[in-house]
Subunit: 257 residues, 2 copies
């Protein structure tokens, strides 16, 4: 999950625009009180007949088939991560609702890399619901020195991606998932508070575009009460099966009808 | 998961009582239509302040701590299986509801072995909600020749266990989970239709005692549409992490409020 495999990696310039000021509301976002099934935005559930597209990086990709992957709903085409586990629950609970789930996430992606393949891997698929989880590589690769993006670049690119999506697909429901890390493995205290700025940026982008926000980082903060960080994401970034299972439940509660 | 480790294993006698006639309703039970959150019995959800006890065999045990395990809600005391994954979702969603989750399942157990330790491992704990998943060893060990129980013994013992529970804990909500197998690993077609008789017996026992029934076998039958049996339970009996994640979602949907 770094850019060393991409010799053509474009270098990014730092933007002065945008504020990284933390919103207390954003940081305080959590899975929501009992009975409140959604966190923000207009969240009408998943209508029968919908096409649902997952987008993101390795956390969503999870070894999904990269070729001959047009068929919806098959585990092989959806990977083994939270997306698949949420899909499995939806499909088993709603066998007669003609739901079509697709996954086009790609390991290593940052926001600008989603943008580069957005026509084919999002707009052409015309999803009724689009769920995006992106951001950890935007900070991780910058920290590693293989990328010169910043939180301002992240927010600008993410905002542009959703503007472009809404222009092309005005009726598509948007879901923005909060980036998350656990303090273990590759992640330590030096990631903070910078990481909080990234997740606050994701929250602002979600709010600006009327997207449902799935507060995964806040979810994991709570989950640490009951199990150590390694239980949820051994390397601090990629969820274990337990972490993915918890994400799937939260995604369904927040997004599902 | 066999009785070779228990030289004192009591031998069971076959009962003539009970019918193994399959109930079409029982076999047709499934995760339920969209919006129907429960499948049978009086299912008021999980009230704040509740103590919830999981009981069963290895599928529920999943390497939970066997000593110093009194503390509720900790992953170490709840194992890594469906029970823990359901608990994690409930706890993260309901942090202020003072829920106390316990797991006292034990690998290898059949119904009569639950009965042998029921005073200490169930009644003394006085749960507000008791969820039991038991049965696969009752048939598996009989097929393996280490146990002479039958489906009639299973149903009689299970019925007696719930009668005893209701007498001691009349206000405890009961949840009976359907035993399940997948046709792979240790399980092949020769398990059927006998296995169907066991799960129909579990359904009858649930109905007789007003228990909520969680139709795990029917759930897995549906899930096979999207992934092969090995994806859900590599040996046909013990769920993979994906199988456990799906069970947790179904358990919460059916049992949770």
């Amino acid at each position: 999950m770094n850019d060393s495999t991409n010799p053509a990696l474009p270098r990014r310039t730092l933007l002065s625009a945008g504020t990284a000021a933390l919103s207390a509301a954003a940081l305080g976002a959590c899975a929501g009180p009992r009975g409140a099934r959604r966190e923000s935005g207009d969240a009408p559930g998943i209508a029968p007949g919908s096409t649902i597209l997952f987008q993101g990086d390795s956390i969503t990709d999870c070894e999904r088939a990269l070729e001959d992957n047009a068929a919806p709903n098959l585990q092989a085409n959806l990977g083994f991560g939270y997306a698949w586990l949420a899909v499995a629950g939806e499909l088993v609970d709603r066998p007669d609702d003609d739901l079509r789930f697709l996954n086009r996430a790609l390991s290593g992606n940052k926001v600008y890399q989603l943008a580069e393949r957005w026509d084919a891997d999002c707009l052409a698929l015309a999803p009724d619901l689009l769920s995006i989880l992106i951001g950890v590589n935007d900070i991780w690769h910058a920290r590693g020195g293989t990328y010169d993006g910043t939180v301002e670049v992240y927010e600008r690119d993410y905002d542009a991606l959703l503007t472009r999506t809404r222009d092309a697909l005005p009726r598509t429901r948007l879901v923005v998932c909060e980036p998350f890390v656990l303090r273990c493995g590759s992640v330590d205290d030096t990631w903070f508070p910078e990481f909080d700025h990234y997740r606050a940026a994701a929250r602002r982008v979600a709010d600006a575009h009327g997207a449902t926000f799935v507060a995964f980082h806040a979810m994991f903060e709570r989950a640490l009460t009951y199990a150590p960080p390694e239980h949820w994401a051994e390397d601090g970034v990629h969820p274990t099966s337990a972490g993915a299972a918890l994400m799937a439940q939260t995604w369904r509660r927040v997004v599902g009808g």
